[in-house]
């Protein structure tokens, strides 16, 4: 008999968005019972790896209008402007809350919160805690959440299926990784906050846990994934490992230098104008790739790279503002940025796309909400500005928590029998996969081939032919995945089983990314095509919606909410 537990709200994902949602609901109703289901202990969530900062208007010389416009322009006009308005207005309050909960924001001499410059932001509006912002925010949120007894944690539980009854989401089936048992966790509403899917690419800043699980859950339940063709390459990752070197390095004044010793962003026209290193990420990444293609890169064992030079900042500033960059550089590439430039190249960092949500964080499936990187509320459009995403996790995580609570209050419990049956089906599926020791395919081979095809078809620069090729290859990989064999049949902490389930999710997401990309015949934000290098507002000023269909992904269009700023040429 499958184990069933009941709560008011089920939250899947224990990173910044999930924790913020949990606390937001609790703040309104201290008695609400919340299940926090996370496949890792919450403080291991990938929020922990964010470095540079979180944006919110706080300075006298800044205003909502400026933050909103920077974000709209950064998005290449694909963001929804009503969402941005809400976002910039709520951002300062959210970061203030984190401050009240103990987040150790770096300070000015007078004790006020310090801010730094960031790419695409027109003034210093990025709050920071040295260069460990994600780490501090996550631990602050997690530790703050520990004070609430009504938040019941399901640590190391891997959600594998949404349970839907009478057209409303009622809970999840989740594999307890520790015991190998699948249990049913029910709620009157459900929030997905599982983060991105960078692991569909070989070269990424993302940790191993970022496999698009929540996106796939929603997709399989019939909810659209939106704007998935927009994959952000961060300009500065370490060659080989892909470990992130924060944009704050440039915010603090670092230079990008090619092999000829030239600060090319100031000497050549890459469209970033006087912003130079502080241009938006899509443009800087393209500039770096062009430099490398023109033969002005250094060559190394992991491909060509450029230099990020911080030496002129001096040791004191590096130690105070960028201690983690220094630590990481020393450990992972053997370079002390105080004395040597850091080798860097663009690296997959963030999915602008995600589960299609409206401004209230609600999806098209009643009772289902989503927030953070796994969602696409259309704040980021075709290119996210650095330091908007941590704030997004808070603003829309809180919205998801509040709105999921009010939905839960007005919702029924659904038929427990029906939900239990679904849970049992899912348990049987997972058990079958665990016992699947016959088959011709190996997980690591499928992963390798997936990585290869995603990099060739959905990189910084794209063309129709390879995108189509990638879409076809991913479809084939799905076939091969059905023939995968597992070596590990143990019940307890079977990480191979988890990896196999994650692979299923990654293949879903890869398919959506490739198909969404292949259908957008223009260049916008992070989606840059060599064969159609210009933006085409006539035909493509819309969001891509991608629905699950057993026959293959089905694409639809959704309008962009403008209202304040009309699209114009994006020049800095």
């Amino acid at each position: 008999m499958i184990e069933v537990s009941r709560h008011d709200i089920v939250i899947v994902g224990g990173g910044a968005a999930g924790l913020r949602a949990a606390v937001a609901a609790t703040e309104i109703d201290p008695d609400v019972s919340i299940a926090l289901v996370s496949k890792v202990y919450p403080m291991r969530s990938h929020t922990v790896s964010a470095e540079g900062g979180a944006a919110a208007v706080v300075r006298e010389d800044d205003n909502f209008e400026m933050h909103a416009y920077d974000t709209v322009k950064g998005s290449d006009f694909l963001a929804d402007q009503d969402v941005i308005r809400t976002f910039v207005e709520q951002a300062p309050g959210e970061l203030t809350l984190l401050e009240h909960w103990g987040c150790p924001w770096s300070r000015n001499e007078d004790g006020t919160v310090a801010t730094r410059a960031f790419g695409g932001m027109s003034t210093k509006r990025t709050w920071y805690a040295a260069d460990k912002v994600g780490f501090h925010m996550l631990h602050t949120l997690f530790q703050h959440s520990l004070r609430f007894d009504n938040i019941v944690r399901y640590d190391e539980h891997f959600a594998t299926r949404l349970l839907v009854d009478e057209g409303t989401v009622r809970g999840v089936a989740a594999l307890d990784i520790r015991t190998g048992v699948v249990r049913v966790v029910l709620g009157r509403s459900l929030i997905l906050a599982t983060g991105g899917a960078g692991k569909i690419f070989p070269f990424t800043t993302n940790g191993s846990i970022k496999t698009g699980d929540g996106m796939s859950l929603a997709y399989r339940a019939g909810v659209a994934l939106k704007d998935m063709e927009f994959v952000q390459y961060h300009p500065t990752g370490l060659p080989g490992t892909g470990i992130l070197i924060t944009e704050a390095t440039r915010g603090e004044g670092g230079y990008l230098i090619n092999a000829e010793g030239e600060r090319f962003l100031t000497t050549r026209d890459y469209g970033v104008g006087s912003k130079a290193e502080l241009g938006p990420r899509d443009m800087i990444s393209r500039a770096i790739i062009q430099e490398l293609e023109a033969g002005r890169g250094f060559s190394g064992p992991y491909g060509d790279y450029l230099h990020l030079d911080l030496r002129h900042l001096g040791e004191a500033k590096i130690v105070a503002r960028l201690p983690m960059v220094r630590e990481i550089s020393k450990i992972y590439i053997g370079v002390d940025p105080v004395h040597e430039p850091i080798p860097i190249r663009p690296v997959v960092h963030y999915m602008m796309g995600g589960i299609d949500t409206d401004i209230t964080a609600a999806t098209s499936l009643p009772g289902l909400y989503a927030a953070g990187e796994c969602a696409s509320v259309s704040l980021n459009g075709a290119n996210r500005l650095g330091s908007n995403s941590l704030t997004e996790c808070l603003v829309f995580g809180a919205a998801a928590g509040r709105n999921a609570l009010s939905f839960a209050k007005g919702s029924s419990e659904g038929s427990e029998d029906a939900l239990r049956r679904q849970g049992e089906e899912e348990a049987a599926r997972v058990a079958a996969l665990r016992g699947k020791q016959k088959g011709g395919e190996k997980l690591s081979r499928i992963r390798g081939d997936l990585h290869k095809t995603m990099e060739s078809g959905c990189g910084v620069y794209r063309v129709q032919e390879t995108m189509d090729e990638t879409a076809r290859t991913v479809a084939q990989l799905k076939g091969r995945y059905a023939d995968v064999a597992l070596e590990d049949s143990s019940a307890v902490f079977n990480t191979e089983l988890v990896a196999a389930l994650e692979m299923g999710n990654m293949l879903d997401i890869a398919e959506v990314v490739a198909n969404s990309a292949a259908a957008r015949n223009e260049s916008r934000g992070a989606h840059t095509r060599r064969d159609t290098p210009n933006r085409d507002d006539q035909n493509f000023l819309y969001h891509t919606l991608c629905y699950f269909d057993p026959a293959g992904p089905r694409l639809e269009k959704k309008g962009v909410t403008l209202g304040h700023w009309e699209p114009e040429e994006r020049k800095y």
Binding site: V40, M43, S49, W101, N108, G111, H136, L443, D488, V492
Partner: protein, 250 residues
């Protein structure tokens, strides 16, 4: 970079509670790359040699705190330790002083309870409203607790601590450091509550100042400093309580 020639032998602790009576050792000889970390070798074994090997990892940049293990008898973050510093044979085991769930995976729930028990959140007599804006905190005030706020909860310190090994109630280095971090935060008013916990069973006075926690801390948090400062503060608080009994005391 791929000379592909060099090989190393990894002697890995295996334990499957469904099949094994007790933990056992298993050796894998694999080709290694000169720039690999210990974790890269485990990932190679998992992908290419033995899919049944279980361990935790995620960020591979020494900040998520998942991949702590004993490497040649010392607690280490495996994503941080260069393989080149070890010889031809590397011994990898689960973190010492923890019950072992499977292979290299240890029981972390006990730690989570300890972390929760030190009340690691800001406590204030009166909660501040959002509209009042951020509190002021000078860089000097921030500096006082900054180091202790850098704990990534990797639990290596627990594996090194002789007190943790022998006194199950001991809160341990990381939990005390995190609690102390809040107590000395200028925005917090909860030191008295935490001092009660620190003076309780398994509290700060169980620490015998072995300093091993600080020796193995991968983030230079110096938990030994936190624990011993916490002792000092707990004593001051206790002595003050003797002279000026607080309301509500027994």
């Amino acid at each position: 970079m791929s000379d592909g020639q060099q090989k190393k032998t990894f002697v890995v602790t295996r334990f499957d509670p469904d099949r094994d009576e007790a933990p056992r050792k298993q050796s894998y000889e694999i080709p290694v790359q000169p720039d690999w970390k210990v974790l890269d070798a485990l990932n190679f074994i998992k992908d290419e040699v033995d899919g049944t090997l279980s361990y935790r990892w995620s960020c591979r940049m020494a900040v998520c705190g998942s991949c702590g293990m004993m490497v040649n008898g010392e607690p280490r973050l495996t994503c941080k330790e260069a393989l080149s510093q070890y010889g031809d044979t590397v011994d990898v085991g689960p973190l010492a002083n923890f019950p072992v769930v499977r292979d290299l995976v240890i029981e972390a729930d006990g730690f989570m309870e300890k972390l929760t028990s030190v009340k690691p959140w800001i406590i204030r007599a009166k909660e501040r409203a959002v509209e009042e804006g951020p509190m002021r905190q000078s860089p000097a005030e921030h500096e006082e607790f900054k180091q202790f706020s850098l704990c990534i909860n990797c639990m290596l310190c627990y594996s090194a601590c002789p007190v943790v090994a022998n006194e199950p109630e001991f809160l341990g280095p990381a939990a005390i450091a995190v609690g102390h971090r809040y107590s000395i935060d200028s925005r917090d008013e909860g030191a008295a509550e935490r001092n009660e916990v620190f003076r309780g069973e398994g509290g700060v006075f169980s620490c015998s100042f072995a300093n091993e926690c600080s020796e193995v801390c991968p983030k230079n948090v110096d938990p030994a400093a936190a624990v011993n400062q916490a002792k000092f503060n707990a004593v001051i608080d206790w002595a003050t309580g003797l002279v000026l009994p607080r309301g509500g005391d027994e």
